[in-house]
Structures are given as structure tokens and as C-alpha cells.
């Protein structure tokens, strides 16, 4: 591997004042034709390209990104990674991803800082307790490391949580997945980009898709701001903008794109060393390696592509944070931002072929796509390469909305942060 990253290369380059580092990836102009084009240069899209090249030997492919790679939800999420999902199909999908996460830094030779600090989900009412127990049993039988915790065990694992019984919604218990945790979001996009680029994938930034050319019921190529690109396979991984691309191909998707907000506090010395999620009161918090509290807020209830949400959502989230962590009252919000999340009616993603031959969609990840990045890329690459879903993403087809075989993850599972 050229330009391999390691402490040794770091020392070597220090002597030349880091003047000799090579590009992590190139900045090519699009070719006339590719065997496949991935629309969307986020983590999922770049991972898809990476695995197409690596596992399916498709090297003549491109990723087109309308802005800058990793500039969408990849760079805007709260980086929670877990696989403790309720339904077999979801558990299979997300745990496949988690297994890849565990070796990703080494595979990419890029430190994505995957930190298995554990993810705890809290229960605040009796139905929460039933739901979390149900999920824990299902996880265990699906081979996912989830355990149910008593309130005392919750307190022991994360002492700063207010577990007193006289708060409005006392903590009645929780679940813990130790293999779960967080990763450095930008690094995931950059690592996959570097890996894909090295195998010959063209990563074309500032290249917006303007149209999808169809010949009857199969695709012929895409119109972009950098000209027409001929291709027989298009994998759309455009998150919040999936519907926009679908409309170009004359399709409608079961998606709504809504604002999702997040915020970070000023950096402080380590104070919370795990990830705690509370679905009932809506508080999600972890601490980044830099020391910032990373807090995920909820979605607004209207469609928006503005990357802005309403203040009431942020306020509601911080209300919940102070309910559970009264010690954070004097911490200060440093930055607040919004992303556009594409939400499916059943809160599960779509990794599927479409009625148009050669057109594939990977979308509907809603509020929880980051955790699935490597698995999503791997399975979507399989789907595109073989024109057939892998058994792990078979359930996440588009037809489920017609037949009624939904994978409903709101019912009993936590919001998919």
C-alpha cells in the first residue's frame, strides 16, 4: 500500500516537516462511462464503492457527490454504533455492520476511532421495561451481547445518571450492549474514500446529479453538472435527498425527509465514558474524544431540506438531559446543527432493487444510519453486483410496503439513534 499510515510513517514524515504526505484521494474528472455509479459520497456511498471494488472486483466505478464527501449526515450525526435491535432482520443487518466496525481501522489503515464504550438504553415506565426485556431476550437468542440492568446496575455503570425515585420519570432499569459505542464520523468517510480511491474508484466531488436517463425500464446513465455519465448500474445513496433522485427516475419512495438536530457542549475533562440513550424522555448523550458532550435531539414533524430545525426540539432534549444529568446544568452548548434524515414508515431502511432495471436504492436510514455504514455498504455492493439482495438485506426491500411485511422498529425498539 502506498503511503501506508503508521507511527513509523508519522515519524519518517516528521523529519521532512510533513511536506511529503501524498493525497488521501484524488480529484478526478468523470470518465464517459462507468460499470457502476454511486450517487452520494457519504459514508454509505463510499463504503458501497469500496466493497464493490474490493469484494466484487468492479474497479471502473465512480462516486458522484454534489458537495464534499462526508458533508451530509455522515458528518452531522452523533456517531452512536450499536446492534441491539428487536427484529431478526434488523439485528442481522446491524450486527453484520458492528462486526465489520470491529476491524475497520485496520482494514482501512485509517483510524476511525471505533470505541466500544458500551451503549445503555434506559427504561422509564413499565412498558419500557417490558419492551427492553423483550429486546434483550431477542438479542441474546440472536447472538447479540445485550444484558438487562437493574436501576442499581445502571447507576453503577454510569454514576452521574440521576436514578433517584422522586424524579418525574425515574429510571426503572436499562439494557447494555458492551460491544456498542461510537466512532469518529469524518474518519469513516475519509477512510473509505482513501481505500476506494486506491483501488481505482473515481471520487467526483462538486458533481450534482441533474437527471437519470432511462431506456424503457432500465437505466442508461446520469446527467450531472459535470456532464452525462453512461452507466448500466446506479446505486443511489443520497439519504435525505433520495426522493429527489427517485423523482428524476419517475419513482416515488415511502420516505419523508425531516430535520434532525444535534448539539455539542464545550469540551471538558472526561465525565461520562459510555453512551446513554433514553427513548422515553428523549435524551442521548456521549462524550467525544475531544471532551465535548455529544447530544442527539429529535426530528421535527415536517418535511424540510433546510438543515435547520425548530428550537423547541433542542429545548426538549436539553430538558431531558438535565432531568437525567442535573450536574450538566452549567455546561454550555457550543454548537448546534441540523441534518436531513429520510424516514421510512416502519423506521427501517430500504436496501433494494427497484422497478427500474439497474437502479438501486439505499435509503430510509432515518435517524440511525451511521452505525450501519460498513454493513450497509457491503450489502448494497452485493445487491448491485449480483442484481440480487444478500440474505441479510432481503427483508429491506421496497415491496414490503405493498405486501405489508414491514420491519416495524418503532413499536418496541428504541428510536434508531
Amino acid at each position: 500500500m502506498i503511503n501506508k499510515y503508521s507511527i513509523f510513517s508519522l515519524i519518517k514524515n516528521a523529519f521532512s516537516y510533513h511536506e511529503n504526505w501524498q493525497k488521501a484521494w484524488n480529484d478526478p474528472q468523470p470518465k464517459k462511462e462507468y460499470d457502476a455509479v454511486i450517487v452520494g459520497g457519504g459514508g454509505h456511498g463510499l463504503a458501497t464503492a469500496y466493497y464493490l471494488a474490493k469484494k466484487h472486483n468492479m474497479k471502473n466505478i465512480a462516486v458522484v457527490e454534489k458537495g464534499w464527501i462526508g458533508g451530509g449526515n455522515t458528518g452531522r450525526n452523533t456517531t452512536i454504533i450499536r446492534s441491539n435491535y428487536l427484529w431478526d432482520a434488523s439485528a442481522g443487518l446491524y450486527d453484520h455492520a458492528l462486526k465489520i466496525w470491529e476491524g475497520l481501522s485496520q482494514e482501512l489503515n485509517y483510524n476511525v476511532m471505533f470505541s466500544q464504550r458500551g451503549v445503555m438504553n434506559l427504561a422509564h415506565n413499565l412498558q419500557d421495561v417490558r419492551d427492553l426485556k423483550r429486546r434483550t431476550h431477542a438479542n441474546r437468542l440472536n447472538g447479540i451481547d445485550a444484558v438487562y440492568l437493574s436501576t442499581e446496575e445502571v447507576k453503577k455503570f454510569c454514576p452521574i445518571i440521576n436514578t433517584s425515585t422522586d424524579i418525574r420519570y425515574p429510571v426503572l432499569g436499562g439494557t447494555l450492549q458492551r460491544r456498542a459505542g461510537t466512532a469518529r464520523h469524518d474518519a469513516v468517510a475519509w477512510g473509505y474514500a482513501r481505500g476506494a480511491d486506491e483501488m481505482g474508484v473515481d471520487i467526483i466531488q462538486n458533481c450534482e446529479v441533474k437527471g437519470i436517463k432511462r431506456n424503457g425500464d432500465s437505466v442508461e446513465g446520469i446527467e450531472t453538472t459535470k456532464g452525462f455519465i453512461k452507466t448500466k448500474k446506479i446505486g443511489v445513496v443520497a439519504a435525505g435527498h433520495s426522493s429527489v433522485i427517485a423523482n428524476m427516475a419517475g419513482l416515488r419512495l415511502p420516505l419523508e425527509s425531516k430535520p434532525l438536530q444535534a448539539l455539542v457542549s464545550e469540551p471538558v475533562k472526561p465525565i461520562i465514558d459510555t453512551v446513554v440513550m433514553s427513548n422515553a424522555v428523549h435524551a442521548y448523550v456521549s462524550q467525544s474524544d475531544k471532551g465535548e458532550l455529544v447530544i442527539g435531539a429529535g426530528t421535527d414533524d415536517y418535511v424540510s431540506y433546510s438543515q435547520k430545525g425548530s428550537h423547541q426540539i433542542v429545548e426538549g432534549t436539553l430538558n431531558a438531559i438535565l432531568e437525567l444529568y442535573p450536574i450538566f446544568s452549567r455546561m454550555r452548548m457550543l454548537r448546534q446543527w441540523g441534518g436531513i434524515v429520510d424516514i421510512c414508515p416502519d423506521a427501517s431502511p430500504i436496501l433494494s432493487k427497484t422497478s427500474v432495471k439497474g437502479l438501486y436504492f439505499n435509503c430510509g436510514w432515518g435517524t440511525g444510519g451511521f452505525k450501519a455504514t460498513p454493513g450497509s455498504g457491503d450489502l448494497f455492493a452485493h445487491t448491485i453486483a449480483n442484481d440480487e439482495p444478500h440474505k441479510l438485506n432481503a427483508a429491506f426491500n421496497l415491496n414490503r410496503f405493498v405486501s405489508g411485511d414491514l420491519v416495524d422498529e418503532h413499536g418496541a425498539a428504541a428510536v434508531a439513534h
Binding site: 416515488r252 418535511v303 431540506y305
Partner: protein, 91 residues
């Protein structure tokens, strides 16, 4: 926070309202006549437009009336508000 001009109560803070999604998706009069695909279209498929979108809002914490809104979803600019049952303006 939007400032929404409820067609009945006047300008109110967004917190008094709930959004009801895409407007003018009429519930089929004869659902049993529809194919599974047609029913799925009604039930789940959405335009989810980036740009000028027609949608439904409800003044939930005021007069409880539903109404229609035309909003540019790319910058959240509210273009027009009109009552339920009124036809959307053409063009």
C-alpha cells in the same frame, strides 16, 4: 420557529401547531377496489418534495382546525396558507 398565520386565529408560534404531511392525498373512496400497489401508493408513497410543497398543518393548541400550507422545503419559507377544502392555487 415558524410564525404561522392560522387562517382562523391569526399569527401564532409554531409550537401551537402540528404538521400533518403532504396535502391533497385524498383517501380512496373505494379502497376495496384498489390493487395492493395502488393502496401502498396511498398509504406510504410520498412526493417528499425539495422545493414548493403542499402540506397539511393543524392548529392543535388553538382552534384545532386543519389547514393547507404551501412551503418551500428548501428554505422553509411559507408561501401561502389556505383553508381545508379550498382548492390549491394553480401554477
Amino acid at each position: 420557529m415558524f410564525l404561522i398565520n392560522c387562517p382562523y386565529c391569526g399569527e401564532r408560534d409554531q409550537s401551537e401547531f402540528i404538521a400533518g404531511g403532504e396535502a391533497h392525498i385524498e383517501r380512496p373512496k373505494q379502497p376495496t377496489e384498489l390493487s395492493d400497489d395502488e393502496w401502498a401508493e396511498y398509504l406510504f408513497m410520498r412526493k417528499n418534495i425539495k422545493g414548493i410543497q403542499f402540506e397539511r398543518w393543524n392548529h392543535a393548541h388553538g382552534c384545532r382546525k386543519w389547514f393547507n400550507m404551501i412551503r418551500d422545503t428548501s428554505n422553509d419559507e411559507i408561501k401561502l396558507i389556505y383553508k381545508m377544502g379550498e382548492k390549491p392555487p394553480k401554477g
